[in-house]
């Protein structure tokens, strides 16, 4: 086969393989861990493999440590929801307004602590209001309804506002010890000291460096998650309505669930929040309009 053609075929196939590739492992779990993979809700356990596109939700009380190929470690606090948006294991994903990141985790709510070494490449920890991109070091994020806060625990990071479409605004270089907060509709607030409220509500496990436990699972078969049920609309609705940049591909992913009338009803009811589904629900609206009947030579003549 022509080498150029072969390369093109491999390049086209890569995203598919990347999607099914193991991105990481759940190495520590307290409480329950719910994972939405494809359209299925799974109950995860220690030793379970993670894949790009997984939506991970921790219980309250609960704590989960996720270790990614490449060396990045992330910890989820109680009642936290995380989307493994991208994981390139060395391959960087570019994003408008920000530097390319090999791993991007989107925190919808709760607590996230991310630690990585420079060899892990750039890791982005994003929320709907603020994002931290780090090339080595640790950051702690908390996303609540009223405020989003980021503490650069060690190393350095680039802190950026996140636009409503999910793309990054202007970023600021941050060093260890700096604290950032942002309320909806407000600019970023920077402080050199931690907010006492942040410290008081910080999950106790986040106060320590995350110890790698990957060696415990080396050479063992990954734990198989237990299948719970097919995802319902209320379960996925917060994700379907998040910023466009992250929910790209969700229509194709969850389209099979439209066969469930309840799911379809939910999508229909919130169509204004995720209008991209309109094309799927009402394809007739997007059918190319029938061309007007062709004019006869007589009429052409008549016009003249």
């Amino acid at each position: 086969m022509n080498p150029v053609l072969l390369s093109l075929v491999l390049l086209l196939l890569f995203p598919l393989t990347a999607l099914t590739q193991e991105a990481g492992t759940v190495t520590l779990l307290e409480g329950a861990l719910r994972v939405i993979r494809g359209t299925t809700v799974l109950l995860g356990g220690e030793g379970m493999s993670l894949r790009q596109g997984d939506i991970i939700e921790s219980s309250d009380p609960g704590f989960a440590q996720l270790e990614f190929a490449g060396g990045a470690i992330a910890a989820l606090g109680p009642s936290s929801r995380l989307f493994l948006f991208s994981h390139g294991a060395g391959r960087a994903f570019a994003k408008p307004g920000g530097e390319a990141a090999a791993t991007e985790l989107v925190l919808l709510s709760g607590w996230l602590k991310g630690e990585s070494s420079p060899s892990a490449g750039a890791c982005r920890y994003a929320t709907p209001l603020l994002a931290a991109t780090s090339r080595g070091g640790g950051s702690v994020l908390v996303r609540a309804a009223a405020v989003t806060e980021i503490f650069v625990e060690s190393g350095s990071a680039a802190i950026a506002e996140v636009n409503p479409d999910g793309n990054l605004g202007q970023s600021t270089a941050a060093k260890a010890g700096q604290f950032f907060s942002r309320r909806p509709g407000r600019p970023v607030n920077t402080a050199s000291r931690l907010d006492p409220g942040f410290v008081n509500s910080l999950p106790s496990a986040f106060r320590d460096t995350l110890p790698s436990r990957l060696a415990h699972f080396a050479g063992k078969r990954p734990t198989e998650p237990r299948r719970q049920h097919e995802v319902t609309y209320p379960e996925i609705q917060p994700w379907l309505t998040m910023a466009h940049a992250w929910r790209r591909g969700f229509v194709e992913r969850f389209q099979p669930r439209l066969s469930d009338p309840e799911f379809r009803k939910g999508v229909e009811a919130h169509l204004n929040e995720h209008p991209e589904w309109d094309r799927i629900l009402h394809p007739e609206k997007y059918q190319p309009k029938a061309p007007p009947p062709a004019a006869t030579p007589d009429s052409r003549h008549g016009r003249q």
Binding site: G138, E153, S154, A176, G177, S192, R193, L194, V199, L202, R207, D208, T209
Partner: protein, 291 residues
């Protein structure tokens, strides 16, 4: 004066002299030993405090470094752990006190008082001096103290004591940025001081002294009684009896009872000699009376 009285007088004089001399020497020795014991205990306590400091700096603090970024943990400070260790120790040894007296401390609790500051300055001026033992007067009486300099030899100490800017923000939030900075490597700013009231060695020495002197007196009394009884039974009584018989014999009573002690000592020989003399005398008188 009777023999036993003379004997007892000499004995009492010798005993009294021995008692006073032994008392004086033992008192000095016991006082010195009690002080030495306290200083030795203080040395052990200081070495233990240093061990706790080392353990804190090398094993505890690295584990809590991340936590320090969120809130200040005094448990990571060697001086704090040494003080905590000592406060536990004081439950068993309440007489001892420990302080890491510092000229420019972060925690005001460790600030050196006037006399402590003098000790620290003394160590700064005499860097070769490794230990200082002394006494000082306080409103509660004399106090014995032992001090050692603490030199900053670990560069990691400067992480919290170089400048406020380089110190952990949580430390500044706790103690402010005014004190405990500007420390230099190999500088002496702190002295470990263990102190105990002088009353303590004095009391201990007094207890030991009293015990010793009572024992000594008891031994003297036993010896005194034993010697007197022996003198009475072995010397005084036989001599007295012999004297009475000699008196009767000298008055011509040759029928006076015989008195002879068995044995081989001087008194027994004397009675034997007296018996022979009496017998010889009786025979001589008989010869004179025979016409």
């Amino acid at each position: 004066m009777k023999l036993i009285v003379k004997f007892n007088l000499v004995l009492l004089l010798v005993f009294a002299f021995g008692f006073v001399v032994a008392g004086y020497i033992s008192d000095r020795l016991l006082q010195r030993n009690a002080k030495q014991e306290i200083v030795e205990n203080a040395r052990i306590m200081m070495e233990a405090a240093l061990a706790v400091r080392w353990y804190t700096a090398n094993q505890i603090k690295p584990l809590l470094d991340t936590q320090l970024k969120y809130s200040f943990l005094p448990q990571t400070v060697p001086a704090y752990s040494a003080n905590q260790y000592f406060s536990q120790l004081r439950k068993t040894f309440p007489d001892y006190e420990y302080k890491e007296a510092t000229l420019n401390p972060t925690n005001p609790v460790n600030r050196a008082t006037d006399w402590e500051a003098d000790i620290v300055r003394h160590f700064r001026e005499s860097p070769s001096q490794k230990e200082l033992v002394g006494e000082r007067d306080t409103p509660n009486g004399k106090v014995l103290y032992m001090a050692r300099p603490l030199k900053i030899t670990d560069p990691r100490c400067l992480g919290c004591h170089d400048t406020p800017e380089s110190a952990p923000p949580t430390l500044i939030a706790r103690y402010g940025g005014a004190n405990g900075f500007g420390w230099k490597l190999n500088d002496i700013l702190t002295a470990q001081i263990v102190s105990a009231p002088m009353q303590l060695p004095v009391q201990r020495a007094r207890i030991a002294f009293n015990g010793f002197m009572i024992s000594l007196a008891a031994v003297f009394v036993v010896i005194f009684l034993a010697l007197n009884v022996t003198l009475l039974l072995v010397v005084t009584r036989p001599v007295q009896r012999l004297s009475e018989i000699a008196d009767e014999v000298s008055l011509g009573n040759m029928d006076a009872p015989k008195f002879q002690l068995s044995g081989n000592d001087e008194i027994a020989k004397l009675t034997q000699s007296f018996g022979r003399m009496r017998k010889s005398m009786a025979e001589a008188l008989k010869m004179l009376e025979t016409p």
